[in-house]
């Protein structure tokens, strides 16, 4: 069941009505309803993996309790490492085993040794990277005595499996989400209205922007050897908007849906393409993952406390792991390393926190300097996305070689005018709403209802018009 499907459009109102009308004022029944709905939602993908999800949830719940009641440090460590190793093993088997086996065979092959690795024919359980990270943060926080273990299994299971965030995040923290699950929830009209607006905007980003860009990006990437440099560059730009619309659209729908149930999830995107440098970009892109790595990897490794070399080493490590988290392919690793290289000057010269505020705050337009800073940051990310999208490293390098050919300055063979107009409208709305949580949160808020509702209807018509085939979200594969 994807967010942009009719099934979800039926599922959501049913759960909403049951939640507020049938199980209202009974938090335990509400949570039970959320859990069963979430398991139903997940089972719609593949019911067999539901057992894996339940096992993973039960494991972290159990080891969490054991860590809390452990009488010795050694016992606490035992339960901690048991949970960590089983969680990582699941990820390793389902996501990385084949990659390591094949890479090992390739390396052996380079030394003239023929190895036929045993590979697994398994499909990746949807959302495994996300719910594993939920569980990991929970056990790490208990181990570090930041939180107490949860004693109500239903509440804990809702934290791991809450359907809006189950398959593609945001990656939640027990410190943020669990207290909300344990608290009485009352219907908040304004919150629900905001939720609906965010869902609408998310659907627009996914269906109108991402799916339309995908058509052209796929056509260009799949047949890159037959396109001019300018067309390839356009293809990379289309993919940049595709992945942004796709993933941030998903996050918007997730956040909006959670709000309908009175729950606030972590913000995942903050207009990343309006960043003035790469450090700012990474504070605005997939925020829940970046902050997860910062808190659970970067800081434990020493963070920036040990001098420049430690900062450099840790930054490289974070980006390497981040790339690897996205998928078992060298293309993701190169994508991660490329971003690490981009961010390095600001780490070395300590300028990584130069741009904390919103660009051109209070102004309609950015200054020329800001504009060029945003443009150059955008093109750096476009360049890195090429590896993210390519099927293999050699494809990625050939694609880049194709861009920097003499045909870079020719007229692209693909130039969809309607998509250019759509992107322009999209960027304008995003720019005007960049001070808000999501672009249309406050658009026309002080104007007449006619303008406000006109905008919502326009978005609805566009979603309706461009809706085709209930396309999957890219991040489901991670």
């Amino acid at each position: 069941m994807v967010f942009n499907s009719i099934s979800f459009a039926i599922f959501l109102p049913i759960v909403f009505l049951l939640y507020w009308f049938v199980s209202n004022k009974n938090r335990k029944i509400q949570n039970l309803l959320l859990l069963t709905s979430s398991y139903f939602f997940y089972a719609c993908w593949d019911w067999r993996f539901l057992f894996l999800l339940i096992f993973s949830t039960a494991l972290d719940f159990f080891t969490g309790s054991k860590m809390e009641t452990a009488k010795t440090v050694a016992s606490k460590k035992f339960w901690f490492w048991l949970s960590i190793s089983i969680n990582i093993s699941f990820l390793g088997v389902f996501k990385y085993y084949n990659f390591f086996a094949e890479s090992f065979a390739d390396i052996m092959g380079n030394f003239g040794l023929q190895v036929n690795p045993f590979t697994l024919k398994v499909i990746l359980p949807v959302g495994i990277s996300f719910y594993t990270f939920h569980g990991l943060s929970y056990v790490i926080d208990i181990f570090k005595n930041r939180i107490k273990a949860e004693h109500d299994f239903i509440d804990y299971a809702v934290f791991v499996s809450f359907f809006p965030l189950l398959v593609a995040g945001p990656i939640e923290r027990a410190t943020h989400l669990l207290p909300q699950i344990k608290k009485e929830r009352n219907f908040d009209y304004q919150k629900a209205v905001n939720g609906l607006k965010q869902i609408l905007w998310g659907l627009f980003k996914k269906i109108v922007i991402a799916d339309q860009c995908a058509q052209y990006a796929n056509a260009i990437f799949d047949d890159y050897s037959n396109h001019s440099g300018s067309t390839l560059l356009l293809g990379a730009i289309f993919f940049s908007f595709q992945i942004y619309g796709d993933f941030s659209g998903y996050s918007d729908i997730a956040l909006g849906t959670a709000r309908l149930f009175g729950i606030e999830l972590l913000r995942n995107f903050a207009f990343p393409y309006f960043s003035r440098d790469i450090a700012e970009f990474w504070r605005r892109w997939h925020i829940s993952l970046s902050s997860w790595f910062r808190d659970y990897l970067y800081f434990p490794l020493g963070g920036s406390s040990g001098g420049t070399w430690m900062k450099i080493r840790n930054t490289f490590l974070i980006f390497l792991v981040s790339g690897f988290w996205h998928g078992a392919n060298w293309t993701f690793i190169v994508w991660g390393l490329l971003n690490a290289i981009y961010i390095m000057p600001s780490i070395i010269f300590n300028t990584n926190r130069n741009h904390i505020d919103i660009v051109a705050k209070g102004n309609y337009l950015p200054s020329i300097r800001e504009f060029f800073m945003m443009l150059s940051t955008f093109f750096l990310t476009v360049f890195a996305w090429i590896f993210f999208r390519s099927a293999s490293l050699s494809d990625g390098f050939s694609f880049i070689k194709g861009i920097f050919s003499s045909s870079l300055f020719s007229i692209p063979s693909i130039h969809p005018l309607d998509l250019f107009i759509l992107l322009l409208i999209f960027l304008t709305i995003e720019w005007l709403g960049r001070a808000s949580q999501f672009a249309i949160e406050n658009t026309f808020e002080k104007s007449s209802n006619f303008l406000r509702y006109g905008l919502y209807y326009l978005l609805l018509v566009a979603i309706f018009f461009y809706n085709s085939a209930g396309q999957q979200f890219i991040y489901f594969q991670f």
Partner: protein, 296 residues
């Protein structure tokens, strides 16, 4: 609780406006279709109907044959033709004979994609209002992942001045020639993509058409429009065999133009359809046959 009721009320009101608007457009479109059908009904001079897919749509110019109407549509499989004939009969349209387009591709399963598959959202909307309610629901279910586009196409087709719902002669190709690469692509789509089989659905509705015509005492004649020799030669034998078998079982009359000698400019690039020049030659030839044998 009061808050949530206001919220639900407002959301319902917000959604009801487009729903009402779409319903009005759909009602208007439904009326338009009924009007077109009653137009056919009122025209007592029409004794012959040319029906089928793009082969007939592009190949038979009804204005050159008195007392006839071409009501063919591109990509119209026997499934849709069956319900179209049923609707026409139910609306009181009285004709003596139906000339149904019948070629080798008509029984290939590639057409099923246009009924219940990925292309249904583009083709099924043209027939939506002539389908019985049960089939309408089936169409909605088949297009559940593309519901927006499906409904939108129903509206778009309804607002289009072109006679989408019943069909008419249409051929935009003038003075074109068949070329091998287009013919190969066409053959690949219809017969050779490795998944192409005889379609059970198409065969079922072909027989249903036969039965429907018999029940209503309407003569059914099959028309196989010209094919380019290169294209014809590459059609796999299993399709040719099934094509002949259905004719034999149904004891049907066939007018076969496959081997009609035509000029090179008589075909469109895919070699599977005639150009407007080819349509004139085919229609003239058909008219000669009709004069000799059937229409007296």
């Amino acid at each position: 609780m009061a808050n949530i009721k206001v919220f639900i009320k407002k959301v319902s009101f917000f959604l009801s406006i487009p729903i009402i608007l779409v319903s009005i457009i759909l009602a208007f479109t439904n009326r338009k279709v009924e009007k077109i059908i009653s137009g056919l009904n009122k025209d007592q001079s029409i004794k012959m109907l040319f029906m089928g897919d793009s082969h007939i749509q592009k190949g038979i110019i009804d204005s050159l044959i008195p007392n006839s109407a071409n009501v063919a549509q591109n990509s119209e499989s026997f499934y849709f033709t069956y319900f179209k004939i049923k609707k026409l009969f139910k609306s009181g349209v009285k004709v003596k004979s139906i000339y149904l387009g019948y070629s080798y591709h008509s029984i290939s399963n590639y057409y099923e994609d246009f009924i219940f598959g990925q292309n249904s959202k583009f083709i099924a909307p043209k027939y939506f209002f002539i389908l019985p309610n049960k089939q309408k629901i089936k169409m909605f279910v088949s297009n559940r992942d593309n519901l927006g586009l499906f409904v939108l196409n129903i509206i778009k087709d309804g607002l289009n001045p072109y006679n989408y719902y019943i069909g008419q002669y249409a051929n935009k190709f003038k003075n074109t020639k068949a070329n091998k690469s287009s013919m190969d692509k066409r053959l690949e789509l219809q017969y050779l993509d490795g998944l192409n089989e005889i379609s059970a659905i198409n065969c079922h509705y072909f027989n249903a058409i036969l039965e429907l015509c018999r029940q209503n005492e309407v003569q059914l004649v099959l028309v196989n429009t010209p094919l380019h020799p290169y294209y014809k030669a590459k059609i796999p034998s299993k399709f040719v065999g099934k094509y002949e078998e259905l004719i034999k079982i149904g004891k049907l009359q066939v007018i076969n133009f496959n081997d009609l000698k035509l000029e090179p400019n008589s075909f469109i690039p895919d070699g599977d359809h005639v150009s407007s020049e080819g349509a004139i030659l085919t229609t003239n030839e058909l008219y000669k046959i009709l004069n000799k044998t059937i229409v007296k």
